[in-house]
């Protein structure tokens, strides 16, 4: 996934009704790109058959 630009992030925020100031926008873009980049290597794992559930109701001792 290529980096998001401040313009793209600003447009996305505006579409969602989020009031992002110009000061906020640069940092929000850095944060979002960093999170996407950090999770990028995990795309190589075999995740398709993994259920995305948080594991509620774990029995005692498990």
């Amino acid at each position: 996934m290529s980096d998001l630009t401040t313009e793209q992030v600003g447009a996305l925020a505006a579409a969602l009704g989020l009031p992002v100031t110009l000061d906020d926008l640069a940092e929000v873009t850095h944060r979002l790109n960093a999170l996407i980049e950090a999770l990028e290597p995990l795309a190589e794992l075999a995740l398709d058959t993994v259920e995305p559930v948080p594991g509620l109701g774990e029995p005692p001792g498990s």
Partner: protein, 476 residues
């Protein structure tokens, strides 16, 4: 009693309860002592947002009357405690550390508060936290909380005041809330004990939410025994929290002294020996492992390859939940948030669904990885944090590039979020000091609902070491 005020203030909660029961000290005397210390010391520490002296003294007087009458006494009878200002307290404002909630006065106690009061605790006040328990607050609305071991250093968060107040003798014990390390991090940086129970072991009712599948109230105290007694008071099913567990609550104190002989402990390689872990931290944690070996435990290295990703996985999931909780205020009161909180929540509001779901699937794999390790070991051992408390200034200022983000947010969270993502119980116990005098902390992680094993090992280590006997400078 011949002990001076500071000696009394640093007694364990259980010792205070015993002295009250034996009429050696009065609950009023103990409450006045802590109120005087808060008045004298807290202007520079900022552990408290709200102190309730009149209500505390009134509760203390009733507690004293009960003692003198020979009435049945709860296990924490006469013990002055304080709570993170994330928990509702009837008639006492509950800010969640935010201007947005600065005038919020609940009409009902959180279940944990009701239970601590029913056990005989005396509420002294509400403790400072990072805004909405999120972490990354730049300007604290109710004052910058400071580490009692060095005022220029971070006390940890989000339950910052809960760590400070216990470390500085401004209460006997405290309650925090741990979504992704918020009890264990301040315990680590402030040199006290902090326990994250199994998710669902303790009711979340009346605690301002961040992430429904990870939020977990937990105690902070100066001894492992105290954390066991506080957990005893707050654990158990609550009809007001439909996700709270109906699993029976064992008597935690009964097995506390059973030792570690024969316990199998896995030392998490990536967190203990990884490149992000400071040398002083590594040395202290390995020293703690050797101590547990001398006490009879069997240790070996275990690899959990996904834990270095836990910090980022956690932020993709918990922050998304938080963005949902805050979506109305973000649109209508964005300027009332601290800059750090607002930017974190705005970011979380924009996380692509594919990334969020990838994180959820990796969480399931991480949980399976940890369960497999805990099938072979009774406990997992690692540092609570990769470094001692950093300077407050290190986390100040805007982020000017994405490479700063990993260092400031993901790395440190990868030490405490694996247990949170897997819903496992974990404890932070003091295990040494840096050369400059800042506390270091050992983390022990157990199987679901096996807090008794976690507490028993932590207690054995604590008894075999001397770290919890030190007091921060300037707190006498």
């Amino acid at each position: 009693m011949t002990a001076d005020g500071a000696d009394l203030a640093f007694l364990s909660a259980r010792r205070i309860a015993a002295l009250v029961r034996e009429r050696e000290v009065s609950p009023v005397e103990m409450t006045r002592l802590y109120l005087e210390r808060i008045e004298r010391l807290d202007s520079r520490l900022c552990a408290y947002i709200t102190v309730v002296p009149e209500a505390a003294l009134e509760t203390a007087r009733r507690a004293e009357t009960a003692v003198m009458r020979g009435a049945p006494l709860g296990p924490l009878h006469g013990v002055p405690y304080a709570v993170k200002d994330q928990f509702d307290t009837a008639g006492v404002r509950t800010t969640s550390g935010s201007r947005i909630r600065e005038d919020h006065v609940p009409t009902e106690d959180a279940t944990t508060i009701s239970r601590l009061n029913a056990a005989g605790g005396i509420l002294l006040g509400k403790l400072n936290l990072t805004e909405f328990a999120l972490g990354g607050t730049q300007q604290f609305p109710f004052g910058q909380p400071r580490n009692p071991w060095d005022l220029d250093h971070d006390p940890g968060g989000s339950s910052s005041g809960s760590g400070i107040a216990v470390a500085a003798g401004l209460c006997a014990a405290s309650l925090g809330e741990d979504t992704g390390g918020s009890v264990r991090s301040p315990a680590s940086f402030c040199g006290v004990v902090g326990l994250r129970p199994t998710w669902s072991r303790v009711s979340r009712h009346g605690s301002f939410p961040l992430s429904w599948s990870m939020d977990t109230p937990g105690p902070l105290a100066r001894t492992v025994e105290d954390t066991a007694w506080l957990l005893q008071a707050i654990a158990g099913y609550d009809a007001k929290d439909p996700l709270s567990s109906r699993a029976p609550v064992p008597e935690y104190a009964r097995t506390l002294g059973d030792g570690v002989r024969g316990l199998r402990i896995g030392i998490v390689r990536e967190l203990t020996f990884g490149p992000e872990t400071d040398a002083e931290v590594r040395e202290a944690v390995i020293g703690a492992a050797r101590c547990l070996e001398r006490l009879g435990a069997v240790t070996e290295e275990v690899s959990l390859p996904l834990v270095p990703f836990a910090g980022a996985v956690f932020m993709a999931l918990a922050d998304s939940d938080g963005a949902g909780v805050h979506h109305r205020w973000l649109r209508t009161r964005a300027g009332d948030y601290d800059q750090g909180t607002r930017r974190r929540l705005l970011t979380a509001s924009l996380i692509p669904a594919a990334i969020q779901q990838r994180a959820a699937r990796v969480r399931a794999l991480l949980r399976a990885e940890m369960r497999a390790a805990l099938a072979r070991h009774d406990l997992l051992l690692c540092p609570t944090a990769h470094q001692a408390a950093p300077p407050i200034a290190a986390a100040r200022g805007a982020i000017t590039g994405r490479h700063e983000v990993a260092g400031r947010f993901f790395t440190r969270r990868s030490y405490v979020t694996p247990a949170a993502l897997a819903g496992l119980p974990a404890i932070a116990v003091p295990c040494g000091f840096t050369e400059s005098g800042l506390p270091l902390s050992l983390q022990l992680i157990g199987r679901h609902f096996e807090e008794a094993t976690v507490l028993r090992a932590a207690h054995a280590y604590e008894r075999g070491s001397e770290w919890s006997r030190r007091r921060p400078p300037g707190t006498t």
